[in-house]
Symmetry: C2
Subunit: 372 residues, 2 copies
Amino acid sequence: MFNYNPGAQEPAATVKTSQGDYRVMVSRGAIEAIGPEMRQAGVNGRAFLIADYAMFPLLVRRAHEALERGGYETHALILELGEEAKTIATATKVYEWLAEQRAERTDCVVSMGGGVTSDLVGFAAATWLRGVPVVHVPTSLAAMVDASIGGKAAVNLPIGKNLVGAFKQPRLVIHDIDFLDTLPRRELAAGWAEAVKHALILDDDLLNTFETHAEDLAALSGDLVEPVIRRSVEIKAEIVSADEFETGNDRVLLNYGHTIGHAIEAVTEYGTYLHGEAVSIGMMVAAGISQRQGLISEELVDRQRTLLKRFELPVVLSDVDPDTLLEATTSDKKSRGGKIRWVLLRGPGRATTSRDVSTKVVRAALNDVLVS
Amino acid sequence: MFNYNPGAQEPAATVKTSQGDYRVMVSRGAIEAIGPEMRQAGVNGRAFLIADYAMFPLLVRRAHEALERGGYETHALILELGEEAKTIATATKVYEWLAEQRAERTDCVVSMGGGVTSDLVGFAAATWLRGVPVVHVPTSLAAMVDASIGGKAAVNLPIGKNLVGAFKQPRLVIHDIDFLDTLPRRELAAGWAEAVKHALILDDDLLNTFETHAEDLAALSGDLVEPVIRRSVEIKAEIVSADEFETGNDRVLLNYGHTIGHAIEAVTEYGTYLHGEAVSIGMMVAAGISQRQGLISEELVDRQRTLLKRFELPVVLSDVDPDTLLEATTSDKKSRGGKIRWVLLRGPGRATTSRDVSTKVVRAALNDVLVS
């Protein structure tokens, strides 16, 4: 008999939102406790598990069994959930399956996969019958420290990414560190990029920890993997709790490295760089701008570069035309009335925003990362 | 120069919701004031007017000019918005247009048309960039007293109606009574069915007014059209404010006549009856059940029938197999675990709900309205 007392487990964070508060559980083997955690979160009815094919069959079975053991009648749908599947057409497949299963408002949806999975399944859960509860079980490091927390759900249109979506807060998020053991090293590094970003913008102590233990963390060895992920989750949760709808000055800070990162992804047609890799290069450009604006020293730019390289993340960009890239930055969603709101560093663990950056400065910072 | 002081106009109701409070303005010529009203509601940016083709060109032009006069840069999209267009495919057309126009989160969407229009445009506004403000300008009586208030937005799937949607509260609702003058008489009657429903479930006084002035109201003549619509709007607004997400015991009362009504629409494949007409017949069945359950007298059933007939609404049903209809009621979204929650009358202007109704009683009440 499985014995588990939810009260005994400390969440890494509790996210406070207008749609309710929810816990983010982080540990090795966390999936085993999904049943009792869902009960504690007040989720009842049947569980509709929607998983990325990459999790099939082993990890899907573990989740399925844990849900059944928790007393949830469970049904599973396995889909190929790469970036190219993040469409209204795939959401419609989910709707059709839920319709066949006669899923009701009192039932719940459980997503299991990377960032595409939580984005797409979150959107489907936000809109099925005008909204049913969703629980996220992220299986990539990037999804753990970023996509699964904060309720941003969306699908892409041919004309642009994440254009159709919803703010759909989950009722619970389960991070099972075990799942990372089978993750390709390159994807792991892309996940660390987002965690390093959290340190750079908000937590000097975490930045020091990353610098002291980069190789161990990159290899998932040593005792610090779980505490570092917990701290990264905590930072993301604090920001989301303070600025749920990105209408204030907090949540935008998470876009550090993303203005150029998104542009890099767009001009390379999402085929060359993983999101975290593009963000890594984007952070180098943002740091270069920060330095040129007199906000930080060149030494901090170097510190950032060295750290990212130790995680085997790219810090330079080749075969990209700077004009095309600059053009792509202005079509980013975050620009309002043509003026880009840049997220810049003003010190280690401290970020700020500015709309007052000249094209000349951007171009110079960009030139620093371009190699031919 | 157009002069208008929003404070001087009294809204018919203010709807209080978790997404913010909003006013419902009801008057002849109300559209002229849409600009100042939107400013007062804090809506800025550009206005993206999405209108049913039936409103083109005359009424669309009036709205367009009123928006421009109010200082809103306005762009219009005209679509055929019949029930068959209430699909994800049509929503995608809206997304693509908004993408072409580079509509941003600070812009707003204005819907203009009947219930399909506010449902579909409301859904598109709920999901475009994870949500942009929406203002509804309903042009049918049914949309005025029902669909435009309360934030229920949705599209249909081939497998069922309203399966994909959102709770998306508008920032403002404008009822221009002038728009009703060109409405076909049959559609007008279908709208009155929902207003009469509000009286039957919640307002004995309004019921008396309907009984005293049925023919005048049906013909849109006399002085009572506006006050009666205002009162009906007020009832809907009170219910929505008390039970925004239909999780309590208030909002479900609005489904009086709808369990059978939806089933009638489904088995006749949405081709025979307008929604309000199906609800009219459904209310007769619900009244028949109420009487058989000992909740009301036969006299009240007769009163209801007489009133509906004076609005030229159908109160009997032909060419429908009772078993098929009964089967269709159990697939209605409102049933949970197979048990239908019936909305029943317990007096004039008073409603209640019950899951404890035998199939025998339903069948008997159904037989009363079936003619061969």
